[in-house]
């Protein structure tokens, strides 16, 4: 686990993918997880949808990320329950490698949400109607750029839409400061050691 690029403000091209229940198998199919590595997974992102032939990587022109307006997208606007299913962190590594920094959806798969934060991607939960309005704005103007201010917890669009979002203080700090969670926890080592010592007395059968 290494520190991530801090994310306090971000402006980038937004792309809509409004199917509901997009699972991590769709974000990166199992067979694309070929190497024991977190790197270089961007080309496998949405492989089953993005390529007409996954072997040769011949593109499917109908898939939105293959349209020129969206090739540089860094903000994904998605349908409900995005990232449900398998815990594979490869889904987040693939999104990150592709260049996605922010994902907006009505709700997220819970493991996926945590994986985003740990890898420097900001997941934003907004009401369904908000998300639909954002998608409509993109569709009306492909290539439009949205801006996110994580410190103020705001997302704004050229059409003047402003959405405020919630995020836990801990997640916000991790993202804004690009922190390494392990190092952060290790600062509490004394606390952990004494907690375990007391717990050993209470629940000796747990310790082998």
């Amino acid at each position: 686990m290494s520190a991530n690029t801090p994310l306090d403000q971000h402006t980038g091209v937004a792309v809509p993918l409004m199917r509901i229940n997009i699972d991590t198998d769709a974000i990166i199919p199992s067979r694309e997880m070929k190497r024991v590595s977190k790197e270089g997974l961007g080309e496998a992102l949405f492989a089953n949808w993005r390529y007409a032939d996954v072997t040769t990587r011949r593109e499917n022109p109908d898939f939105i990320l293959n349209q020129d307006a969206y090739r540089q997208a860094s903000i994904l606007v998605a349908g409900d329950n995005f990232g449900c299913g398998s815990s594979r962190e490869h889904a987040v590594w693939a999104l990150k490698d592709f260049g996605i920094r922010v994902i907006v959806a009505p709700s997220f798969g819970s493991i996926f949400y945590g994986n985003c934060v740990l890898n420097g991607i900001l997941p934003i939960r907004l009401a369904q109607s908000h998300v639909e309005a954002l998608a409509a704005e993109i569709e009306a103007q492909p290539g439009v750029r949205f801006s996110v201010d994580l410190v103020k917890q705001q997302l704004s669009t050229p059409a003047g839409k402003l959405a405020e979002f919630d995020i836990s203080a801990a997640d916000k700090r991790m993202l804004v400061e690009g922190l390494d969670g392990i190092a952060l926890t290790q600062q509490r080592d004394a606390e952990i050691v004494s907690f375990i010592a007391a717990d050993r007395e209470q629940r000796p059968w747990v310790y082998r």
């Binding site: 024991v36 203080a169 969670g181």
Partner: protein
Amino acid sequence: MSHATLVEKIWAQHRIADLGGGSALLLIDRVFLHERTGGIALQGLAAAGRAVRRPQQVFCTMDHIVDTFPGRGDATRMPGGTAFITSTRAAALEAGVNLFDINDPNQGIVHVVSAEQGITLPGLTQVCPDSHTCTLGGLGALAWGIGSTEAEHALATTTLPILRPKQMRVNFLGRLGRGVTAKDMILKLIGLHGASGGVGYAVEFAGAAVTSLPVEARLTLCNMAVEFGAWTGIIAPDDATFEYVSGRPYAPDGVLWQRAVDHWRSLASDAGAAFDREIDIQAETIAPQITWGTSPQHSISIDEPVPDPQSQPDEKRRAAMSRALAYMAVEPGRPLVGIPIDAAFIGSCTNARLSDLRAAAAILKGQRVATGIKAICVPGSSRVKQAAELEGLHQVFIDAGFEWRESGCSMCFFAGGESFGQGERVITTTNRNFENRQGPGTRSHLASPATVAASALKGQITDVRRLGRQR
């Protein structure tokens, strides 16, 4: 703490520090790894110059990528798969964690092994970089799936920062009907309340139809909590749990056992404990379930017609339904019963324990699967396989025309190796019917072992309750 839920009690016992905003740093009692994601976590840790803090509490098995054909070794059908196996083995040995390697008699699917070895105990916190870790809530442990980066955190510190979940209780009231199983209960719940119905919640399963379930069936019920979107599922430990855990290799014994049981008895939710949401389901209303689409929420009673997208007012849901119908090549307005299948699969951490194999074998005994059906049984662990063979179950499967495999995840998911073919229709005891989950273009119908066995015999989707009459 006089009105605490089961989850709140375990949470409080593991809370090292409050991190603000509803998060806490929790003590993690057990970490389980497998070669698909565990090797990456161990390597990532080593690359950062960090050590596994308490290797004796860390376990690793080979299940996801390993071949399930007899006489297997490190070679696998998945391109590049062998590297996952060898690098995970090397990293596990280097870190000194407990390893159930390919030919270890205790090898098997991670969540099956964890329960049967007594590694999971009631009241523990347990994590694994695998979404179905919630299976182990069936023993009254707080167990959930995490990512690889979180796994590195848990390995290095024996802790994890966790956002406190909301509390839901799902009460299955009354008694289950004949031919209805834990698999049908959870599919019914997801069918009624959706694949995101449990997002943000820890879900306690309760009620007479749950407490009367044998422990293995409780594991099935909790296994699919994640398909409900829940953070995890859990069931209060009781005498049946203690009896199940007792005498298992990693379980406590002697004086410690007595102390442990006393503690475990105190974990059940207090009367009057508050839940953010409660759902009641009458067990009598549950028929055997089957999925028609590409999400576990596309679940219906076996005698019910496939829903019509036209009756769905929400446009997004209507589109998702139409897409699923097209992928699955099924028609709305008609039940699935009678649709010909190409294959039947009995396996996975959902439904491949000994009781599942017994349930299927009871239906298959003395019968043969229909001509042309590819039928496969993959026991959930090497111990399950061994126990089944001692009872002669393997012979029932083989005589019925099933392949009898070595243990592993096998065709629960497609990793680029073995798969059911394009457009093949599979009835399966697994937990995910996503597009391409069991192979490119493969159509998966989730059901219980009994329904799968009955359907394999008929060569078509079959209501197990009517099997006798049809035959």
